[in-house]
Symmetry: C2
Amino acid sequence: MATIKDIASKLGISVSAVSKGLNGASDISEELRQMVLDTAVEMGYSTKRSRKEEHRKLAIFIENMEYENKGDFGFDIILGFKQSAFKHKWDVEVIPVTPAFQLSEKYDTYMLKHGFSGSFVLGFTLHDEWMKQFEHTTTPTVLFDNFISKNPNVSYIGTDNYEGIDLAIEHLANLGHKRIAFLNGSSHSMVSEQRLDAFRLSMVHHGLIVDDKLTAYGYYMAGSAQDHVPAFLDLGATAIMCGNDLIATGVLNECRLRKYDIPKDISVIGFDDIPIASKCNLTTINQDRHELGKCAYVALSAMTHHIAISKTLMRPRLVIRNTTGKLS
Amino acid sequence: MATIKDIASKLGISVSAVSKGLNGASDISEELRQMVLDTAVEMGYSTKRSRKEEHRKLAIFIENMEYENKGDFGFDIILGFKQSAFKHKWDVEVIPVTPAFQLSEKYDTYMLKHGFSGSFVLGFTLHDEWMKQFEHTTTPTVLFDNFISKNPNVSYIGTDNYEGIDLAIEHLANLGHKRIAFLNGSSHSMVSEQRLDAFRLSMVHHGLIVDDKLTAYGYYMAGSAQDHVPAFLDLGATAIMCGNDLIATGVLNECRLRKYDIPKDISVIGFDDIPIASKCNLTTINQDRHELGKCAYVALSAMTHHIAISKTLMRPRLVIRNTTGKLS
């Protein structure tokens, strides 16, 4: 592991200048500071510094996910993570990010500059800039619903999507449905890709035919329904599996607008079981978001102790309410 | 959840007789006791009883795996599990089992009868009797290298076999090998099946051709090598990936008997990194067995608190020693 002296000799500057750069002193230029930080990260210095006793700060980076209010998908995940982290005397800072922000700051440099020992990352898409950097990061990093292969500093946490989709399809198949549509969330998302794959596998497993005209990528919002539900209904779908609960609420609306009775004429299943699902009496697949947050902390804590947990998957749970019924 | 009264009324016997049966009193017949226990399990009584404060006993069931001596595969796994469990004031009993034993005792009944709150299960094959029972068990159960779908009381812990095999094949491909053989462990094992699947995927991923004549199931012992190595060598294999380190030691022997120089003429990779691997200077894929044991405890403890962790996978690590080299 590189020392301050190594960094100084690589850059041809004094040890004290390096030290100032690392500690954010005000009497060196911003350019020199950035160069010191980038070099320190490159030489593997970050890990050493961030493991000092006085640094007890973790970051939560979040994008493409609502989390500020109690009903939001991310709310309980962040709550669970924070509760576990606080118990072990870590400070936690929640940092909303954008693609532009990721392009402007290198991940490891950002972590070093701000004194974070590790992070929990939520809502990133497959083409986010930092996703590439996670392949080689030396900072302990837990990804919600994303996987990076072969880097022992990165861990994946999520709910088993294959089992979740299979629970839903099994439920619909038991009710006699055969023409099952799948309105997925956004493409460029590992979770969406897994759920589509799981949908195909589960349909085949239950002896049902996958009609490609009955599967579509949308986006993880209610508004996504209007683009696809009319075609699904015209093609004779009797059940619609949705990528999340928000999409499902949109699907319920679109069906009712067209005078389809739920669940007599059509069954609808969501995914996540956020509070709106129980309000709408929606059958859905529950993710235990509070526990996901807690387990994310466990995985992050393990990595800060050099224990490389690759994946932690929680069990999904089928919650049957009033939007699914026997095929009439 | 059933009460003692429910069990008594179902069996048409007194509450005190049920209580005696559950507590192992000596003044009721063995037949009646078994009937009480079976009925209690059937009615979901086990969970309730085993969560009482005074019951702090966990079982480790082990089969088909050496564990008693320091160099054995199971030794560190059990050590890690016990260390974590002892820290949280659990007693742990290691119970070697056989297929006959599993046929003679129902799993949940056994757990209730002996006052175990949960178990860690190692070395079971896919056709073991208890594997069927795990699909519906109400007892928190962690399976090493085995997976049961849709039961929130069962959790799978292991090393990511896909990544492990891919690390090995990537290493061999980088050394220029194309004719890579795979001498797997026993069939009827989830791990063996995963590793074969991983081998095929990784070969394709690296642009290499899978020759079915160069893959074989054997058994997880050195003796397995003599049945397959001669054919692999005749067919022009330049590298042999092995299902574990013991098989690899057998492969090294067979190659040397035939005057093949290692690694000049042929490269050999093991799996596990047990102590014999470093003694033989064997390149292998490391499983962190001590941490696997500790993480198994974490998953079991979570389940006793109704937190359903489905899978925990650890990162494998490529350990390069002297049995792999550039294709000459």
